[in-house]
């Protein structure tokens, strides 16, 4: 389960629409809570490092970008808890390519952007044996 506010969800959607027809990507910064629950407190957009022609169906966050994001998170006492990316004109379901390149534990939020309009937004976590992605619930964080 991941806690992701409406506000953050609309930021992800807006990034997907902005970068259409290319794939957008970014980090989810927050906390690993108990029982495998992740709390995303902010989103951290990254520029897609893939080359021009591949950007329509590929994204790449370089290790140095991730390290930068990790430092940004650490400075706030937070962790990188997952990643988001868009699927231009494709459903918000992880592809075989996503699975091959995924890491366990992290949340993978995917937003479908159809003809420039963000639609479905879903979150996924890969099984530890790398066999498949399971969808995880997205919940509004509990306001204290």
């Amino acid at each position: 389960m991941i806690e992701l506010s409406e506000q953050n969800q609309s930021e992800v959607r807006a990034h997907g629409e902005r970068d259409y027809p290319y794939e957008c990507c970014g980090l989810l910064v927050g906390r690993f809570a108990e029982n495998g629950v992740k709390a995303c407190l902010e989103i951290y957009p990254i520029s897609n490092a893939r080359e021009e022609v591949a950007k329509r169906n590929r994204f790449l966050i370089r290790p140095e970008e991730l390290m930068r994001g990790e430092k940004h998170a650490a400075a706030r006492g937070l962790d990188v808890v997952g990643f988001y990316h868009s699927h231009p004109d494709h459903p918000a379901i992880p592809s075989g390519y996503d699975l091959e390149h995924a890491w366990p534990v992290y949340s993978y939020v995917v937003v479908a952007v159809k003809s420039g309009q963000a639609e479905d937004l879903r979150s996924w976590e890969m099984q530890a044996d790398r066999s498949r992605f399971d969808e995880e619930r997205i919940e509004e964080p509990v306001q204290i």
Binding site: A54, R62, P63, L66, H85, H87, D98, W103, Y108, A128
Partner: protein, 483 residues
Amino acid sequence: MPITITIPTALRQFADGTSRIEVDAATAGEALDQLTSEHAELRRHLYDDKNALRSFVNIYVNDEDIRHQTGAATPLKDGDTLMIVPSIAGGSTAEADVSTELPSLSNEEIARYSRHLIMPEVGMEGQRKLKATSVLMIGTGGLGAPTGMYLAAAGIGRLGIVDFDVVDSSNLQRQIIHGTKDVGRRKVDSARDRLADINPHIEIETYETRLTSENALGLFANYDIIVDGTDNFPTRYLVNDACVLTGKPNVYASIFRFEGQASVFWAERGACYRCLYPEPPPPGLVPSCAEGGVLGVLPGIIGAIQANETIKIALGAQDILVNRLLLFDAWAMKFREFKLRKDPLCPVCGEKPSIKELIDYEQFCGMKPAHAHEETKLEEITATELKARLDRGEDIQIIDVREPNEYEIAKMPGTKLIPLGEVLNRMNEIDPSRETIFHCKGGVRSGKAIEALRGAAFPGRMVNLKGGITAWSNDVDPSVAKY
């Protein structure tokens, strides 16, 4: 030796929840082996089925990627830190989806290209793009030699070669695609053999012809990328215009003595050669490599840059040499870079182009006069005629206008050396009452010397030795060295 390994957040649960683990190891590979033997679950995430590090797993030793060092063999010393840093990749379609468009790779090809395949910037998809790409190389000389060899080695699927020349021993100092055994062979044949030896998985097509305004568009249409390895202005403008008209990227380079330049002229994305040089220099102003010389390794460096940019274009990389002119000085060992800008008034790629088809480039570059009557008559003599006249004891003075270092390599008997640049200042050393034969290496500079002297009102009779000292060696005295 204690080495600290830092574990990324995502993998900590497979390492008993710790973020740092100490191991004893002498190399990065050993450290990872120890780590994954203690924590077997980690191995699946770090290594693929073929026991190779996954392409999106990056190992840093003290903040430096081991791919930039010696990979798994990167040595470690006491107190080093090894970091596992993921790159995060994904995308909307699976690899299988592109298989219909791109050619597949055999297991042999996968083994051959493994150093490409493990880099995410190339990968299987990129390597298949290289295989799907066709490149036409104009010339297999100094530049074409390294370019062709690297493109073949990289797995560019189809390589075309245009050259009309024959391998000469003076080529071997820099044209490393040809060998001593190839002297006298057609360059396209020699190049084909070498490229096929480097990589039997690619197709090679040869065209033993001069590139002309008649055949250029037809040839270019069948290729994705054009690589200009020519050594003269008419062909350079022809390659540029034909690329603009067919919409192909022109991977350009030129070399002279110790200096080289390279750029990618691609009208759809930026400046073309004419945006940079709207007009050719007056004929003869810029000497060719045959006249001025070239350091043999220079085309190796510049040609490798052309191969690099060609491969990047095929991969769809962003930072190619479009709108950038790279200058290299081998003697000072310095690179410089200039920004280029597309000229909206460019006659071929501008907003209102005046050139819509290929023209006569020899004429455009002033190599032949537009109208015959404008030609000032240059009196010429062949080497055999000159020999006959000398044998008859005729009173002729011979002026050699080459440079002193050329004079050292080979000279004709009874000549006086006055380099072209000094001809006007030393005019009084030439006796105007006698007939004067001027010669150089091939006949171009001596023609210019005569023109210059005529312009300075030198009154004597001046005759140009056709073909220069090279013709003398060919037709009169083979003991005179050719260079």
